[in-house]
């Protein structure tokens, strides 16, 4: 069971405007993020979906300046969080935000824990640094966090090293670390991708429970449209470093408006409906991102592409009249209207 608590009026906890990140490499610049804007309200879960190289992880890393600079450079954008622009903070100030006010769960639980320190030490570190707890207090809090994420006999396991935990248990430890300082926002970067489906189901259940109990605001990055369908309130689809579609989760799956989202949903073989004789596939390759897009990045692979798509890059615009008290804006960056089967009216 999921709760759908799309709030259209609650306070905005995070607002990102026109974020751009460029990597300088030996072979020239790679434009990983090309002007991404979104916001998150309190208690919401925003899913960010995209394939590898679509810029979803770099976007989230850029928010906290976790991208290595250089070679990366955040060339434009504003990230408003708690009435501050995170991008203008000094290294010392942003370190307080990371792991303190914003928790981050990384993809691979095998490599993101330090193998030479005990799990307890790694859990207590943020508690002592950010919250100023004493060693004994931190230990107690750490044990209660492990209990919260469903690790049996938590007090004893604090002295174990990461290799003594299984993959699913390690991801629980990562979640416990991210939750340690009662963050206002939790960013999860493909937290279940490295896990088996039955373990993934356990973690998803855990996250649903935590949201119910703590009312956590979350951003969940994934390439799995199935996972997002089960937990997100709103979804943003990324392609070529841009958000190409955004909608409430029901709207996105019921009536995808961008040809990419549309095609992506078609390529998935289903577990319950009629088996298709042949899978739909999206021909071609993802874009190379060696320049900022001036035309639609999906046009070369798009079945609806027409002359304008190769000339101008469509801006993302609302298709249902924008945000309202009881409505989530359904935004799309496309010149073509799939439902009408004709180009969109204006430009």
């Amino acid at each position: 069971m999921t709760m759908r608590s799309v709030s259209t009026t609650g306070p905005k906890i995070l607002e990102v405007t026109d974020l751009k990140t460029v990597f300088g490499t030996r072979d020239g610049a790679v434009h990983a993020v090309n002007g991404v804007s979104f916001h998150l309200r309190e208690g919401e879960l925003l899913g960010i979906v995209g394939e590898s190289g679509s810029g979803k992880s770099v976007t989230m890393m850029s928010l906290l300046k976790l991208v290595p600079m250089p070679p990366a450079e955040i060339t434009s954008g504003r990230v408003m969080f708690s009435a501050r622009d995170l991008l203008s903070l000094s290294p010392g100030e942003i370190r307080k935000v990371r792991g303190g006010e914003i928790g981050f769960i990384f993809q691979d639980p095998m490599t993101s824990l330090n193998p030479v320190f005990t799990v307890g030490f790694q859990l207590m570190e943020p508690l002592r640094k950010h919250m100023g707890l004493s060693k004994a207090e931190a230990r107690e809090k750490a044990a209660s966090l492990l209990a919260l994420v469903g690790i049996p006999s938590p007090a004893d396991r604090l002295d174990d090293f990461p290799h003594q935990f299984s993959g699913g248990m390690r991801q629980r430890v990562m979640i416990a670390i991210a939750l340690a300082c009662d963050p206002k926002l939790l960013i999860a970067d493909e937290p279940t991708t490295a896990l088996d489906v039955t373990i993934q189901a356990q973690i998803l259940e855990l996250v649903r429970g935590l949201r119910r109990e703590l009312g956590m605001s979350m951003i969940w990055i994934t390439h799995d449209l199935g996972v997002v369908a089960g937990i997100a309130d709103r979804v943003a689809v990324m392609y070529g470093g841009l958000i190409v579609e955004h909608a409430a989760v029901e709207d996105l799956y019921a009536s995808p408006k961008h040809p990419y989202t549309h095609a992506l949903l078609q390529t998935l073989p289903s577990l319950d409906s009629e088996r298709a004789e042949k899978l739909q596939s999206i021909s071609g390759q993802p874009p190379s991102l060696d320049a900022e897009p001036t035309t639609c990045p999906f046009a070369p692979r798009c079945e609806f592409a027409f002359e304008r798509c190769f000339r101008e890059n469509p801006a993302i615009r609302s298709t249902n009249g924008g945000w309202a008290e009881d409505r989530v804006s359904h935004d799309v960056a496309c010149w073509w209207d799939i439902e009408k089967g004709a180009p969109r009216d204006d430009g």
Binding site: E51, V197, T198, H223, G226, A229, G230, A254, T267
Partner: protein, 349 residues
Amino acid sequence: MTADTMNVPGNAPGNAPGNAPSPRSDTTPLMRVENLKMHFPIHAGIFRRQVGTIKAVDGITFDIKRGETLGLVGESGCGKSTAGRVMLRLYDATEGKILLDGVDIAPFKGERLRKMRPRMQMVFQDPHASLNPRMTVGSIIAEPLDEHGLLKGAEREERVEELLDAVGLNPAFANRYPHEFSGGQRQRIGIARAFALNPEFIVCDEPIAALDVSIQAQVVNLLEDLQARFGLTYLFISHDLSMVRHIADRVAVMYLGKIVELASRQDLYATPKHPYTQALLSAVPIPNPAVEATREHIVLKGDLPSPANPPAGCNFCTRCPIATDLCRVEDPEWREIEPGRHVACHYVE
């Protein structure tokens, strides 16, 4: 048997694509394994004494009919890749029979084994790791031909071009190196290499797991096309249950070295019998929020036990929602509950 195993590689590789080997009328399954076991020793201490065994594959029995695709699903560490590799004789089986066309190949050694190899090939999971970065695509694809000494000179070049064309790559790419290709294209190169000797049986070990969603469908469609064109038999190993539902004719579900359920695709997905299969299917997220919101998830407790120390009785008893004392003592028998439908559980009617 020798005549049978010997003549196949000879008759095959020179053929142009399109000359599919004629399907035989006999009903012998192309591949059958009987009580197959693969145990790996664990060594420890300064004398490297054996202190235990990992029972990666612990007694599996099934057949694969000519021209069909058998899906083998399970979570990581359940032994599905080991099963595929031991069937190809990449490992020496600890016990059991591997019958290729009715001939037990498990005891084959040396030259006899090498001569048999062109009949069975493998497509690997990671297209970044399974292609030698220092070899050109042409030499990668031609390596099986060279190894088995089948084609030389212009014929060899021609065969490479033909294979590249068959997997949807430009034959002019033969002189390029693997790093110049994307993940999906590299997987096509791996597929071309597996097809070079016109094998009858191909083990696809998670061939799409490392690829993006939009590219996965391209590769699966290619595998299906090639199967139809050349009358191939596949063992399709995957953890992606929805993709297996698409590609497989029959599906075997593996847990901790054993197959717990084997059924036709329709039966397995419509009415899973084994509690593990039920849990596995219910754990797959469905890309439809309306369905997800109302669906009951069976969430299994705990993790996969270690295959070095499997539980007594049924392997699944530590996580099974319906386990009883009987399950903790007695290993359930592998039985046929309906024609063509096998399950290993005490409580399935």
